[in-house]
């Protein structure tokens, strides 16, 4: 049975880019443990000879003709941006101090 530690939850939060608080770590560790405990029963019936299903509709690739279609104008694309500069998305610095 799973037993998810506070440190593991902190690691998951880091992977998921969530700057969770200490209080949340305590709360989520308990709740995730309870949820994982309940959902772990899927392995009871997941025999080796059962193929997995990833999608309800068995589709392979869907193609369209390679033609230019109208798309968002630059102004429309930038309209919802938290910050824009010179017709581009302005983002915070990418590299941290140590890089």
């Amino acid at each position: 049975m799973p037993n998810i530690s506070r440190d593991e939850v902190a690691h998951l939060a880091k992977l998921a880019r969530l700057a969770v608080t200490d209080d949340e770590l305590d709360l989520f560790a308990g709740q995730l443990d309870q949820i994982l405990d309940s959902v772990a029963k899927v392995s009871e019936v997941a025999a080796d000879d059962v193929p997995p299903t990833s999608h309800a509709v068995p589709l392979t690739n869907v193609f369209r003709d390679d033609v230019v279609r109208p798309s968002l104008r630059q102004q429309q694309a930038l309209a919802g941006a938290p910050a824009a500069e010179e017709g581009r998305f302005r983002v915070p610095r990418i590299l941290g101090e140590e890089q």
Partner: protein, 505 residues
């Protein structure tokens, strides 16, 4: 309450198209009703008064000019779940992350509604990113059940179900990933349909769990749901999972069902969906509904679907896994919330701080759960096993549909619970979707239709009907026949028993 808002969508359309009442008058009556009750119900996150009246005016002008209405629903007002994009109108998904975001494009569902002359009144409240069963996870406060304002209207589409139960809109659109159309329908005494996966385009539907998400109709009658189904369904090249096949004849099926004959129809009662955890009043209502189907001429048999008991755990691995990936798009760079952009924080820090601030607890829980289930070392035991369960559930449906035409069960194990009752217990909340999830995992069609009030609390109960993929019309035939018989036996439609301004039970 104006008499206009009590009419069904089919009745409203008939009056508008016969010029007995104008679309503008109908829209105004609904806007007035929203003004009257929405402070109490809180079904809407945004009301587009100007846009709605303009759309209604356009329908009236067309009719006055002698042109054919654009569709059988032209002029009818509708409430749109705030997870479908609307050009020029805010779309929040019930999240602070998207507060104030104005999408630059319409979802295909939105476009089809506009082209059909359906009047979009506004956007409805929902659990954040459609994650929840009570609408309590909305960042903008809960929606209240019109039957009892202290109770939940279901979720995630509680705003949509409440808006039609409170007569604020004649129709609504919901989305159903694990039951978010059917469970709200059940607890508000309204009709909700999850079409076959791929039946309605997902283009412009903000993704939660892409292999499960499906938009569908919410209405007060089966016929109204069918009319709306035909407006929004159909192949869309903008969605690569859209099914390139004709829309099942759902309106014709609703008419056929309304004549009340179910001779030759085989109905299977799912054995696994009863017993512990089911409210006695829900089971009693369900049993009475099954008797009603038998009285209409249907042949009723019990069917065992043993893998259905593994559907809930499989869903709470698959949906969070897909969500953890889908919600990575909210990175504070191109649209939506951004915090801590003060020159001292890196892009990655801004991203983590923004997501921390913009997402509520349930969304964070599911993102972390999905991240866990997909991590190396755990993938096979969790996500891999859940995908195998999905195969087993599909096999159970296939075997059942070799013997019967439709399956039935209660839609949800209990009636509407009290606001606040389950918020601190995620697993208790998840149980609300116990009976609805199998159809999401297998992708087939399912409906909830009101079956009466539970004897112990006087709150609505829903009958779930499930049909094979692309046989959505069977839902409407059986649902309409049952609805007509129930209404005849009870002196009218259940939803008309709702207290005018919401009561307390």
């Amino acid at each position: 309450m104006s008499e206009i808002v009590k009419l069904t969508a089919a009745e409203l359309a008939a009056k508008i198209h016969a010029r007995e009442v104008s679309a503008v008058e109908v829209t105004q009556a609904h806007l007035d009703r929203i003004g009257e009750v929405d402070d109490h119900v809180h079904a809407f996150l945004h009301v587009d008064t100007e846009g709605a009246l303009a759309a209604a005016g356009a329908v009236d002008r067309k009719i006055a000019a002698g042109e054919q209405p654009a569709s059988p629903l032209a002029g009818v007002p509708l409430a749109l779940k705030d997870v479908l994009t609307t050009e020029g109108i805010p779309t929040t998904c019930g999240s602070r992350t998207l507060e104030g975001w104005i999408p630059p494009y319409d979802a295909t569902v939105t476009r089809r509604l506009r082209e059909a002359g359906v009047v979009i009144l506004g956007k409805t409240n929902m659990d954040e990113f459609a994650m929840g069963s009570s609408t309590e996870n909305s960042a903008f406060g809960p929606t209240h059940n019109p039957w009892d304002h202290a109770r939940i209207p279901g979720g995630s589409g509680g705003g949509s179900s409440a808006s039609i139960a409170a007569f604020e809109a004649a129709l609504a659109i919901g989305t159903d990933t694990g039951g978010s159309i059917r469970q709200p329908g059940s607890v508000t005494g309204t009709v909700g349909v999850k079409p076959t996966y791929g039946g309605v385009s997902r283009y412009g539907l903000v993704a939660f769990s892409s292999s499960l998400d499906q938009a569908g109709p919410c209405a007060r009658t089966v016929l109204d749901a069918a009319l709306l189904h035909e407006v929004i369904a159909g192949y869309d090249p903008m969605d690569s999972t859209s099914i390139d096949a004709p829309v099942p004849p759902v309106v014709a099926a609703a008419w056929q069902g309304a004549n009340g004959d179910l001779k030759g129809v085989k109905v299977g009662v799912v054995k696994e969906f009863a017993g512990d955890g089911y409210q006695p009043g829900v089971l009693r209502s369900f049993e009475a509904a099954v008797e009603q189907l038998r009285a209409l001429g249907a042949e009723v048999v019990e069917v065992s679907c043993p893998s259905f008991t593994y559907a809930l755990p499989a869903y709470y691995l698959i949906a969070p896994s897909e969500a953890s990936s889908n919600l990575a798009r909210f990175d504070a760079m191109r649209y939506g919330l951004r915090v801590a952009d003060d020159g001292t924080h890196s892009a990655e820090e801004v991203m983590a701080l923004t997501r921390e601030k913009g997402f509520g607890a349930e969304v964070k829980r599911r993102i972390m759960l999905g991240t866990y289930a997909l991590s190396s070392g755990y993938y096979d035991a969790y996500y891999g096993s859940a995908q195998k369960v999905r195969t087993l559930i599909t096999r159970d449906f296939d075997a059942a549909f070799e013997k019967v035409d439709v399956l039935v069960s209660p839609t949800t194990p209990t009636t509407a619970f009290k606001i606040g009752e389950r918020v601190d217990d995620p697993m208790a909340m998840y149980l609300a979707d116990l009976c609805t999830i199998p159809s999401n995992l297998a992708g087939n069609a399912a409906m909830s239709v009101p079956s009466g009030l539970s004897h112990e609390d006087g709150l609505p109960v829903g009958l779930q009907i499930m049909a094979p993929a692309l046989a959505d019309d069977r839902l409407y035939r059986v649902g309409a026949a049952y609805e007509a018989a129930r209404n005849a036996a009870n002196g009218g439609s259940l939803v008309h028993e709702v207290p005018e301004l919401g009561g307390t039970k």
